[in-house]
Symmetry: C2
Subunit: 374 residues, 2 copies
């Protein structure tokens, strides 16, 4: 092992653990804020750390185009570039390249695509993706894969998954072992249990120190996602961290931890914060709504984040209406704070063996909804 | 006196002092960042305080339209609304209303105008302006005046100034004395020494605890501005603070302190920070310029702000190119930090009696320009 991963408590399928990487340790289950273009949008990295985040996600696709991985390497790597000295996980670029409808061409060797910034032509292969992630200096590198679109027939899903498994082997081959740095494989197979199982077997055959579940939260719905997790996580090695990619809403996190997931990333808390939507223990709250305009109460009286301790709903509403940058700044902070608090609650519940109670109380609070208008 | 103002050192016309208001003390000469719509754009108030700012400016025009002064009063006043517990100075709304070319109508009693937000009709008079500033809870209220356009004939400037003097008397009449809160009069008279003198006499006749110099930095140029200051400040009472409105560039601040000014406000550091321009001891630096793209050096190696201690020029350039919110956040912080550092330097120099040396060293550094590209 080049990294450390220990678990010391279980509650059903859920695990309480700690991941040790080159740039620090991560208490699991963990949520990773997304720092797409070498910044968590509208947040200073010191503030991201204040929310409790111990690891960030960086995007290979965005960084390879601007400022380029080579430029970041010359400047000392992504940690130094963006002033974040804790661990970083980078995606492989595969997911975002596949999303470039009409501007990318897949072959068995990789993907050729046009930049969304200037239309210039680029190519990603497993080898090039791993090289880029090395240049960035990622603590956790992700294998290059094709995220199977949804819906897909069994045949489409099988072909796509098997291509990803070949690319996973090539990613492993291209990866250079260094202490504290590791490579995760990605399970594909769409909603088909047999394909998910086949993918797990292929990946464990290659051998990784961590396993991601990909191709979910792409439109299949929460129920189906949970079903696929139940058909997948039991087959993953018990001693390796499990990462559910691109997930999700607060309820997704609770349900996926219950089903054995250790790590998450999602743009939801930061993206929704930039459009006036707060994620709270009582569900989403849209601060643009006129019902907040004269409300002197905090967004969440029980939240310790700067948005909730310093300001009224009326002020947060005003920032939205006036299109002030402080609006995204405060709501992104709140949302990331809430996500980290939720993860801390889940970790405590797993450790205490009270996860079912925690999940029930969580669901009840979310269902109750926001406090009534004054 | 309802406020305190003491000076204990002079260097030529420059003064070193301390202003004591309801919400705290201000070391003078002082620079006031502008918090137009109840926020210094792209800054948390805690961060504004970290730069060293001890007082902010709020805009009557913007706040009366949105969220309205009555709403802010219901919510406990502007300090509480925007989470800034240090002093606040509010302008009278006059300057911004006069700028609404084609959408405002001046009469001897006040101004009727259309909102830039929704076209709705509003009216400001001396009495209404003072009422709004009372509702906001300003530590320093500004008299309602007409900022004379530039250029103006002697006759136009005289008529405009005399109207402002009538409004100053009405502002004084409307103002309610409360400990720690005060009203400043505003000297007008365009570039005409005799009119500036007449304006000073009118205002001192009415009696104020502080005097602003208005109608400058409106296109007359730095040399002419300094000339007008030299013809004005010697006639102002020695025991009252003097505030040069809407000024300015770093060199303007140095020159105006030398000519006896104690307080400044300007959007330049915050506005230019949002468009990629840094204000530094070596003059302005445009971070959008490609010459910074691979530069590992800090913006200013001698600056202690987060932008300079945490990041390379290459990263600051990247944020600009990627249009990331962190760009305005970091550059606004840097610019406000630099302005406060410049004011601290000026205060120290006045106290030490070395203002001429300070101004010479400042001018030399600014003239030297930015460090050469790598």
């Amino acid at each position: 092992m080049t990294i450390g991963f220990e678990t010391w408590a279980k509650d059903g399928a859920a695990r309480r653990g700690r991941l040790t990487l080159a740039h620090g340790t991560i208490e699991t289950p963990a949520f990773m804020p997304v720092g797409t273009a070498a910044t968590v949008k509208a947040m200073r990295p010191e503030s991201v750390a204040e929310t409790g985040a111990e690891i960030l996600l960086g995007n290979t696709y965005h960084l390879m185009l601007r400022p380029t991985a080579e430029r970041i390497a010359e400047l000392g790597g992504l940690h130094r570039f963006m002033n974040w000295n804790k661990p970083i996980l980078t995606d492989s670029g595969g997911f975002q390249v596949m999303s470039l409808a009409g501007r990318r061409k897949l072959d068995k060797d990789g993907v050729t695509f046009q930049s969304h910034i200037d239309g210039s032509k680029h190519r990603l292969t497993p080898e090039r993706s791993i090289e880029i992630q090395h240049l960035l200096g990622s603590d956790i590198t992700m294998a290059f894969d094709e995220c199977t679109p949804h819906p897909a027939t069994h045949e489409q899903a099988a072909d796509s998954m098997r291509l990803s498994m070949k690319w996973a082997a090539r990613s492993k081959e291209a990866f250079t072992d260094r202490p504290g740095h590791t490579l995760f494989g990605i399970v594909q197979g769409s909603v088909y249990d047999d394909l998910r199982r086949e993918s797990v077997e292929a990946l464990t055959g290659i051998g990784f120190e961590g396993y991601a579940v990909g191709g979910l939260a792409v439109g299949e719905g929460q129920e189906e996602m949970f079903r696929v997790l139940e058909a997948t996580t039991p087959h993953l090695p018990d001693d390796a961290p499990r990462y559910l990619m691109g997930v999700g809403k607060p309820g997704d996190l609770v349900g996926a931890v219950t089903r054995g997931i250790d790590m998450f990333d999602c743009v939801l808390p930061s993206r929704s914060g930039r459009t006036g939507q707060a994620q709270t223990r009582r569900g989403p709250v849209n601060l643009r709504n006129a019902r907040h305009a004269a409300d002197p109460r905090p967004l969440d009286a029980d939240c310790a984040c700067p948005a909730c301790t310093g300001y009224s709903r009326a002020y947060l509403h005003h920032l939205q209406k006036a299109d002030e940058i402080l609006g995204p700044m405060l709501l992104t902070w709140h949302n990331l704070h809430y996500y980290q608090e939720l993860m801390a609650g889940l970790r405590g519940a797993v450790e205490a063996g009270t996860l079912a109670d925690f999940a029930a109380a969580f669901a009840e609070q979310q269902a109750a909804g926001d406090i009534p208008a004054l």
